[in-house]
Amino acid sequence: MNLLIVMASNPYSHDFNTVVKLISAALNRNHKVKIFFMANGEYCLLREEIKNLHEKGLEVYYCAHNAEQRKIKPESWAESSSMYGLAKLMTEADKVLIFD
């Protein structure tokens, strides 16, 4: 399955734990997983757990507008995107889950 997670919650929340564990399990099951960070979710880009998941196959996107607003400078493993980019990701996804 092609799983897309939209993450708008901050990185010290229950949602962060849920998202990390779900992605990890989905990668274990050999699903294709993408995450899109927006709003307060942008701060998650600063956590090691996300980078580690990226190294295991997670594709990472973020809303460039929200990142700039929050003065977050993501590393190169995360791909700058937009709400239109998210719409495109939704087109390809079999399931879309949002956490906010």
Binding site: H14, D15, L22, S24, R29, H31, K95, V96, L97
Partner: protein
């Protein structure tokens, strides 16, 4: 094939029953595991979230994250509430 899967996060914020169809699947996660549902309903709970909170939920209602992913795969769609 399962119908809609509902991921419920909070004990006090639940989708109204008119939204739920007979074949829908309810998965309690996060603090929602504090409020197990009646026996006759079709629900399960995230095992790690149950254990983290030291709550009593019947073993056969508890799923690993991998098992939750398997249900999500089979769902027509997933609503995170």
């Amino acid at each position: 094939m399962v119908n809609t899967v509902w991921l419920i996060k909070r004990p006090a914020d639940f989708p109204e029953f008119e939204m739920l169809e007979e074949e829908d699947y309810i998965i309690l996660i996060q603090d929602a595991v504090l409020r197990p549902l009646p026996e006759n309903k079709k629900w399960v709970a995230c095992k790690e979230d149950v254990e983290a909170r030291n709550i009593k939920v019947p073993e056969d209602r508890c799923l690993s994250y991998e098992e939750i992913i398997d249900i999500i795969e089979k769902a027509s769609k997933v609503v995170v509430w």
